[in-house]
C-alpha cells in the first residue's frame, strides 16, 4: 500500500442503509430512541419518512474504510463530528486522505482526514484518524 501526504484512501461504499440493521443496533446498544426503529415516531416528530441511522453505525462505515486500507488492528485515534443524518435507504461512501506520515512509539503512522458522505453529497461525518502503517508502507 502507498501512504504519503495526499494519498487518497480507497473509498468504502454501501448502497442502501438497512432499517433492519438499525433495529439490531438499537437492541445491541439498548438505544431507546424511536427515530431508529419506528417510522411513525419519525413522522410524528416532523423528521421525514425514513428511519435515522445511529451515529456509531455511520462511524463504523468510516472505520471499515480505514481497516480495509491499513489493516484490521491499525486504528489508533479517531476524532469525528456528526454533521448530518443518514436515513434508511441512503447510499453512503466513506473517504479519506493522508495528511501526514510520522514516526511514533511502535512504528510509523498516518494521520488522515476522514469523512462519510450520503449519496446526495451531504457530509454526515467529518474528522480525523490516525492509523498504524504496516511495515514497508
Amino acid at each position: 500500500m502507498e501512504a504519503g501526504v495526499g494519498t487518497p484512501i480507497p473509498e468504502w461504499r454501501l448502497d442502501g442503509v438497512s432499517p433492519e440493521k438499525m433495529k439490531v443496533f438499537a437492541a445491541i446498544a439498548r438505544d431507546p430512541n424511536p427515530i431508529h426503529w419506528d417510522r411513525r415516531e419519525v413522522a410524528a416528530r416532523g423528521l421525514g419518512e425514513h428511519l435515522i441511522n445511529q451515529g456509531p453505525v455511520n462511524l463504523g462505515y468510516v472505520i471499515n474504510m480505514l481497516l480495509a486500507w491499513a489493516g484490521p488492528a491499525s486504528l489508533c485515534d479517531l476524532a469525528v463530528r456528526f454533521t448530518s443524518n443518514v436515513f434508511d435507504g441512503d447510499s453512503v461512501v466513506a473517504g479519506g486522505v493522508v495528511t501526514a506520515v510520522r514516526e511514533r512509539e511502535g512504528g510509523r503512522v498516518a494521520d488522515c482526514d476522514v469523512w462519510l458522505d450520503r449519496g446526495d453529497g451531504t457530509r454526515a461525518i467529518a474528522g480525523t484518524a490516525t492509523v498504524a502503517l504496516p511495515p514497508g508502507a
Binding site: N33, P34, I63, N64, L67, L75, D77, A79, R81
Partner: protein, 147 residues
Amino acid sequence: MAVTQEEMQALVGYRFPGGEFTIERWENVLLCDVVGSEPLPDGLAHPAYLFHAPLAGAGMRIADMFELFRAESDEAVRAGEYRWEIHRPLRVGATYRMSGGVVGMERKESRKLGLMDVATFAIDAYDAEDGGLVASTTGTWLVLRSS
C-alpha cells in the same frame, strides 16, 4: 420545568458507577453485520464497540444517560462528537473494566438546533486481566432544550 444551566453544570465531575464489559463472540458478529463488515480476523473485535461498550461497562445504559442529562424525550439527544484513543485493539472474549464520568457541560444556542446543553463524558477501558489501558473515549452529546 426548564432545566437551568446551573443544574446541568453541576453534573460535571459526576462519576459513573463503573464495572466491566465482555465482548461476546455472538454480539461481535452482529455488530460487524450491522456496520457492513465481516468479522475481523485473529480474534479482533470491531472498534465500533467503543460507542456502547464503555457506557454499558461503566454501568450506564443510554436511557440512564438521557435521564442523567435531563433529556426532554428519547429523541432530544443527538450525537455531537466522538474522540477515541486506542492503545490496544479490542478482542473478542476479552473483559474490560470501564471507568469514567461527565467532564464537560456547556449551554449553547444553535441556529439549526436551538437551545442545547453540550454534554461531554469520558470513559477509559482497561484490560481486566492485566490492568493495562486499552482505550480512552470521549463523547459529546447535544441535549436539545425547548426552553
